[in-house]
């Protein structure tokens, strides 16, 4: 159904930008293009990623939490 599609959204594979740098042990923040706008998600990563780096979402642990990896150049 369309209504379900609107709110149930999987961000995996979306390319976003880091707005709060991601440390190894804690969450940072990524801005992802979602539903025609952009939303901030808490992001974890294997390696620390600095601000303004482009990342790709590889998984999501909860509705507002994603695991990202740096976009290979």
């Amino acid at each position: 159904m369309s209504a379900t599609d609107d709110t149930d959204f999987s961000p995996i594979g979306v390319i976003g930008r880091v707005t709060v740098s991601i440390p190894t042990d804690g969450p940072g923040e990524v801005l992802l293009p979602v539903r025609g706008g952009s939303e901030a998600f808490a992001a974890w990563s294997r390696e620390p990623i600095s601000r303004h780096t482009q990342v790709i979402v590889v998984d999501h642990t909860s509705a507002r939490s994603v695991i990202v990896a740096p976009l290979p150049a």
Binding site: A3, D6, D8, V20, S21, P27, A63, R64, S65
Partner: protein
């Protein structure tokens, strides 16, 4: 339409009572489009997804144990995804108005933990660390409430212990020192420039004064020259006048001199010449007369000597003819004298000078001698010299000399 419900872009429509549900939720969540809501059977509620803010004012203790008063603002909204909407709807649907206060209180506790994990310097300077701490501290809890924190801004840090002031003191002192140094430098530079400007000004003033004096001197020079021009030209004019007068006087003097020359000197010269010529003529005449007289006397003496010789010869021989001749001879000097006197007495203009006189005299004497010689030739037989008529001793010597002279002169003539 009564049963057609449309949510606004910042609203989520929650429809309960419907059989059709998404996932595990017991109600339908509709966003972005309208749907039918069956009356009585179904119930539609609206959850605002718009931005909300909560102000927090809290006393916190930093990592270093320093107490600061933090005033912050948290900006949050209900998340757009289905999980967040469902979580938020279950918790806040009836207390949407108190949502800010609630979240604010929660954030007050989070702020403590956030500030407690940071130092004052980090709070002040490292915005990224603050944001990270916010994410780390509040993410899981906010996710439970279905809330997304857009921003947590620390607006003000009240420095109750004076730490920040003291923290800033060295920097402030350094800044003040630098400011003072800069001001001093600027002051020094300004003074330097002022001094340079003053020096330049003095230099220009000096130059101007020099130039002004020079121009003044020039002006005065020309003024003096102009003032002198009148007298100078007057003096020149008078000088010219004097020169003209001088030349006039010179010409007058030369005229007078010429007049004198013409009127006095020339006549005087002519007179002197005339007198000199006359005197010379007279002198010559006297000399000629004297010469003629001398010749006459000489001739007379010779004739007398000859006559005596002839007389002596004739006396010695006793010749009558000689005696007769003797008479002649006796008379001969008188004859010659007469002739000579006639010559000297005559006022002849003798053109030929002394030679002319001699010629005449010798001519006269020569005639007398020719007569005498003819007489002598007749008496050569006697061979003796006639006695002197007047008995004068030294005369014969002179006569012979005279004779020799006469012979020379006659031979030459």
């Amino acid at each position: 339409m009564l049963f057609w419900h449309v949510p606004a872009p910042n609203e989520a429509l929650l429809i309960s009572g419907s059989k059709r549900r998404t996932g595990d939720a017991q109600f339908r969540i509709v966003t972005g489009h309208g749907c039918w809501v069956m009356p009585v059977k179904q119930k539609a509620s609206v959850l605002a997804l718009s931005l909300r803010e909560a102000e927090i004012s809290e006393d916190c203790v930093t990592q270093q144990g320093i107490r600061i008063g933090v005033r912050a603002v948290a900006v949050f909204k209900v998340g757009d995804d289905q999980t967040s909407i469902a979580n938020a709807a279950r918790r806040f649907l009836d207390e949407q108005a108190t949502m800010e206060e609630l979240v604010g209180r929660i954030f007050a506790g989070h702020l403590r933990s956030i500030v407690g994990g940071l130092t004052v310097e980090q709070i002040i300077r490292e915005r990224d660390r603050v944001a990270q701490e916010v994410k780390e501290g509040s993410h899981s809890e906010m996710e439970k409430l279905g809330i997304v924190v857009d921003a947590l801004q620390i607006q003000e840090i009240a420095d109750t212990s004076g730490y920040i002031t003291n923290l800033a003191a060295p920097h402030a002192a350094a800044v003040a020192s630098a400011a003072r140094i800069a001001q001093a430098k600027a002051d020094q530079e300004a003074t330097e420039r002022e001094q340079q400007a003053a020096a330049l000004k003095a230099e220009y003033e000096r130059d101007t004064a020099i130039k002004r004096a020079g121009f003044l001197a020039e002006t005065e020079q020309y003024n003096a020259r102009a003032a002198q021009a009148g007298p100078l030209s007057q003096a020149r004019a008078s000088q010219e006048v004097i020169e003209e007068q001088t030349s006039l006087a010179q010409r007058q003097a030369s005229l007078a001199a010429q007049r004198l020359e013409a009127e006095v000197r020339r006549p005087a010269d002519a007179e002197a010449y005339r007198l000199r010529t006359l005197a010379e003529a007279q002198r010559d005449q006297v000399r000629f007369e004297a010469d003629a007289r001398a010749y006459t006397e000489r001739a007379v003496a010779q004739a007398r000597a000859d006559a005596n010789t002839a007389l002596a010869g004739s006396l010695r021989d006793g010749n009558q003819e000689l005696i007769a001749a003797n008479r002649t001879i006796e008379n001969l000097p008188a004859l010659a004298k007469a002739a000579a006197e006639g010559l000297s007495g005559s006022r002849l203009t003798v053109l030929n000078g002394t030679d002319g006189v001699n010629e005449i005299a010798s001519g006269i004497v020569g005639q007398g001698l020719a007569i005498l010689d003819s007489l002598k030739a007749g008496t050569t037989t006697s061979g003796s010299t006639p006695p002197l008529a007047d008995g004068a001793g030294p005369l014969p010597q002179k006569v012979t000399n005279l004779k020799r002279d006469d012979a020379g002169s006659s031979g030459s003539s």
